[in-house]
């Protein structure tokens, strides 16, 4: 792997040569390592810290056909003050909505640190033309989205048309705006790999590298519409990819597992994985996010349990 990354993407053949030249993933080894790290026991003060960190990393998400402006406003209020009865609970990192609701969310979050993320590019399937995808991204950014979650064209990826995927990501990145070298100043781009459709761990590694070379700021596991969504081994592979990419280029890319993370226990397993794989530098909302909705209430209940010593009940927290 001595080719400079800038030259890798000159043709589909060179991209293919690079991505297929990446070392293969030992499936059994990855599963076993993720499972082993999942057994770590995090208790008392460490757990308290982990819960607060996880709350700060949550991208509170609603991506339903039935989303209304009222629901989005309620979710924004929850992202700012997750537990209205306890001001010591930190805010969530961002809210994630469909492009047409970005304006509503931006208005509801004005003056707070909570960012607005929007899915774009024909989410969740990604089956549309590049023009439509770019236009949708522009609309979301124009409405005020600070982060864009795009989906890759899995069909093209699986067919081996890596250059098409690369160019789409690059075009969407350009549409995010920003004048700096890596698009600084523009919207943050999260690239959804939809690992549940990529079939193999080798493909997850390849897609991760492809997204990073093409200019993604974050790589995200899933849309949440496909099962399996985020899993520990897949996140492990993506964390390894961002670690290796940072060693090679000095650029730190974020990781966001999304979908299926519902309990505090799960969230803490992911934090352990981050710490042990990419390192403590990634234990920040700038470089690691959890895409979730019901997770937040479970984090709050665990937090209250640790504070009061009694098990909390869902009756005392806001409905999702």
């Amino acid at each position: 792997m001595t080719t400079p990354l800038a030259e890798v993407a000159t043709s589909n053949a060179s991209l293919r040569a690079f991505l297929h030249g990446l070392p293969g993933v030992d499936r059994v080894g990855a599963d076993a390592r993720a499972a082993m790290l999942g057994t770590r026991s995090i208790k008392t003060t460490a757990k308290r810290q982990a819960i607060d960190l996880a709350v700060r990393m949550v991208d509170l998400t609603t991506l339903e056909g039935a989303d209304t402006p009222g629901k989005v406003r309620a979710m924004c209020a929850k992202a700012v003050r997750p537990d209205p009865a306890d001001p010591s609970v930190p805010s969530a990192a961002a809210v994630c909505v469909y492009p047409d609701l970005v304006a509503t969310a931006v208005q509801a979050l004005r003056g707070t640190d909570v960012k607005v993320a929007s899915v774009a590019t024909a989410f969740p399937s990604g089956r549309s033309s590049l023009e439509v995808k770019v236009a949708e991204t522009r609309l979301a950014v124009a409405a005020g989205a600070a982060e864009v979650d795009m989906v890759i064209d899995r069909g093209a990826f699986l067919a081996g048309d890596y250059l098409k995927v690369f160019e789409e990501i690059a075009a969407v990145k350009a549409a995010c705006g920003g004048a700096g070298e890596n698009g600084e100043g523009g919207a943050h781009l999260k690239v959804i790999l939809e690992t549940g459709e990529l079939a193999t761990y080798d493909n997850v590694r390849r897609a991760s590298w492809l997204a990073m070379i093409a200019g993604g700021d974050f790589i995200k596991t899933s849309t949440g519409k496909v099962s399996p969504a985020a899993t520990l081994p897949v996140t492990l592979i993506m964390l390894e990819a961002v670690r290796d990419f940072a060693r090679r280029t000095g650029r730190k890319i974020g990781v966001k597992p999304a979908g299926g993370i519902r309990t505090t226990k799960d969230a803490i397993k992911y934090l352990v994985l981050v710490n042990e794989t990419a390192g403590p530098d990634w234990l920040t909302p700038d470089l690691f996010r959890l895409g979730a909705s019901s997770l937040l209430n479970d984090l709050l209940m665990q937090r209250q349990k640790m504070a009061t010593g009694r098990y909390a009940g869902p009756d005392y927290f806001t409905l999702d």
Partner: protein
């Protein structure tokens, strides 16, 4: 021919319709009334209690939403299944309680009859505790009893089968779901009863049975914010006070322990059902 190996039963917990071991991996020795070793029973931890409450909460919408007639049918079905295992229960009651076989037979029969008795109440309790209220205005004003929610039950230490059935049946027949802490001294009939419940069309999670030390588990249930009521029938005086204090935090309904020993053979009355019902009153305009 070699002698056949004994196939002994592992007594586990009953949570969400399944029979898990304790999360803690612990167990404790259960002896007969005479002091002979009977089995190792699972010793539930606070996390097992938490899981059981979650299972009971999950089962609540379905069970409370079932028709009263359906709940009665299922309770009757439990009675049928219990009757079918009569010999096994007689043997367990003899061991656990140290009573003679004849007396044990009467206790098991009484437990079956108790289930049938409560099954009959399922669609009648509303008529007894509900009412059409006279009000000064053009309204129908109707009160009807509704289930409280998740009920924690501390089963009586004596009468391991009849007492247990007599505290579970009135809680679930009205649509509540429950987490029962079985008699600490004699938990084995409770787990065998769980096997009956698991094969009686009773949805998983409606009844969850924990075995172990009451003083260890009960305070967690009493303090749990997602438990709506607690039946302290089996609690000693000190434990009852502790639990009642903890239960105050989220205003749980509390059924205090009896002041005099209960005669479980006597007909129970509707107090135990009424203790875990909430009255809902609706006003409806008559019109014109």
């Amino acid at each position: 021919m070699s002698e056949r190996l004994a196939v002994r039963k592992t007594y586990k917990l009953f949570v969400g319709g399944a029979f898990p071991r304790s999360e803690s991996g612990r167990s404790y020795v259960v002896t007969s009334a005479k002091g002979d070793f009977l089995a190792n029973a699972a010793r539930a931890s606070r996390k097992d209690a938490r899981d059981a409450v979650a299972a009971a909460r999950k089962a609540f919408p379905g069970w409370s939403g079932a028709t009263a007639y359906n709940r009665g049918q299922i309770l009757y079905r439990v009675a049928e299944m219990l009757e079918g295992r009569r010999a096994q229960f007689v043997a367990e009651v003899v061991q656990a309680d140290g009573v003679a076989a004849k007396k044990a037979g009467e206790l098991v029969d009484a437990a079956v009859d108790r289930l049938v008795w409560y099954a009959g109440w399922s669609d009648k309790i509303g008529a007894v505790l509900g009412s059409a209220n006279p009000v000064a205005g053009p309204y129908f004003n109707l009160s009807s009893p509704e289930p409280t929610g998740v009920v924690a039950v501390l089963a009586p230490p004596a009468a391991p089968l009849l007492g247990l059935v007599s505290v579970i049946a009135p809680v679930i027949v009205t649509g509540n779901t429950c987490v029962v802490v079985a008699s600490e001294r004699a938990p084995l009939p409770a787990i065998t009863l769980a096997e009956v419940l698991a094969t009686s069309d009773l949805p998983g999670g409606v009844v969850n049975v924990l075995t172990g030390f009451q003083a260890e588990i009960a305070p967690w249930l009493a303090g749990h914010m997602d438990v709506n009521a607690i039946d302290l029938t089996g609690a000693g005086p000190e434990l009852a006070v502790t639990c009642e204090e903890l239960a105050a935090e989220n205003l749980k309904r509390v059924l205090r322990p009896p002041t005099a020993p209960i005669d479980w053979m006597a007909e129970p009355g509707i107090e135990r059902m009424a203790a875990f019902l909430e009255t809902k009153t609706v006003w409806h305009p008559i019109g014109t």
